[in-house]
Symmetry: C7
Subunit: 98 residues, 7 copies
């Protein structure tokens, strides 16, 4: 079953966590990076976004393929195609990594 | 008494939980899937949706027949026609499964 | 004193709880139905509904005569004409039973 | 000093509690009515109502002279002209009794 | 320094507490009036009122010189010209006494 | 470094606390004034004010040079040019002293 | 990897903390400055700002290069290019230092 199967709802963002490249090249390191879950990730899919009072959707601030910096806590673990992925709210993602 | 008998109110969604197909084909697995309640389900019926300040209903993001991924917690159990079904709020459903 | 005497205010709904018909015909059963209070009821009267910022009333989603499914908890008991009736908020009623 | 002296502010409602007429004629009885404070009352005076963002007052849902059913708890006791009266918020009053 | 010196901000109301006139003439009595602080007062000054989202001020419901009934609790004590006065929020004052 | 260096953000107000003039002339005294921090102050600088949903700033109710009465609690201490100053929210300041 | 790599989301502000210049020239000192983290900083990058109900972004009150005074608590530590930087919400920054 390809990953396209799962479409998050509303302002949820599906993220695959990645280990930052080689340490020496100065990847983005969160304190005590190695032991803990990597805080970098790539956006796999996003929902339509938050819905306003008038019923319109405000698109998520991140989009598929974006590299993102994740908060230390939070995120719902979802295993899709035997891969561990994580659902975050759009507003909980710290920033994007160009 | 056919299932049509029960119409959820507002943004409630009536869901029948389903066990994901064969494990090997890579169904959607939530951690330790087997022991716990299946987190996949099918939408049986939805309410008109949330009501805005102006009195209009914002339709639910999911519709009857959608395959959905459910949060690990929450949901109100309702037994209809001797079947255990579950009521979720539209905004608590994680995503849809195409 | 006829039941017409009591008119709920705002989004309150006055409900008479009913025991679902014969079990075999598949009435709506909430878990361990028999011992606990029946969760099915009939709407006896409704208030004008919630009031918006502009002062208009948004009518209740249920109306007099509707069969409804009630949440397991909540509801204020009111004894009218020696009958035990219950006041629920419109938004707390789970759904209607056609 | 006549009762007119006291005018509640905003959505406050001044109520005199009354003991429901003779029991046999089926007054409105709240569980274990006799021992506790009567939950029936008559509206003595109301404030202008809640104020909206635009500064207008939304009149109270009840008016002077209405018979009302009061919640079991809440209400601020005020003694006026040696009479014990009670201040309720308009939205806390359960309903009116015609 | 005359009392004009102090102008409350926003929806604050400056009140001087007064002991209700002679008991027999039926002043407004709160339960166990004598021992506790008098709950009657006179408005000394008011702020411009609450500010709405559009930046306008909604004038206080009470004005200088009004006789008011105060809640049993709350109020910030301020000593001005060696007099103990009290600051209340406009919305916490129970009502006016004509 | 002159005091102009520090500009508070949003609805923050920078205040220098002052000891009220001679006691006999009836300065504004808060209970047990001497031992505690003086509750009178002078506004040194204000932010642009709170921002509304439409992005405009609602100017602070106090302005530079105003004499103000401060709440007993709250306020963030900031030492500028070796002087202890305090940051208050505009809405926490009790009133102005003409 | 240059610092431009990281773009904060929404109203987040990326700040590098700085030790205020020489003490004698009267840098901005927060109480017991030396032992604790410096409360002065320079803005490295800002997000687009808070999003309103209509979906527009309200730009941050601070911009890249601004010298800012930080609250004693709060801020998320992020290590970029082996430098410790901190993420604050725009509304938590106390003020700017010209």
């Amino acid at each position: 079953m390809s990953l396209r199967r799962f479409i998050p709802l509303f302002d949820r963002v599906l993220v695959r966590r990645v280990i930052p490249e080689a340490k020496t090249k100065g990847g983005i390191l969160l304190p005590e990076q190695a032991q803990k879950m990597p805080n970098e990730g790539v956006v796999v899919a996003t929902g339509k976004g938050l819905r306003t009072e008038s019923g319109e959707f405000m698109p998520c601030a991140v989009k598929e393929g974006d590299k993102v910096l994740l908060p230390e806590f939070g995120g719902t673990k979802v295993t899709i195609d035997d891969q561990d992925l994580f659902l975050f709210r759009d507003s909980d993602i710290l920033g994007t990594l160009e």
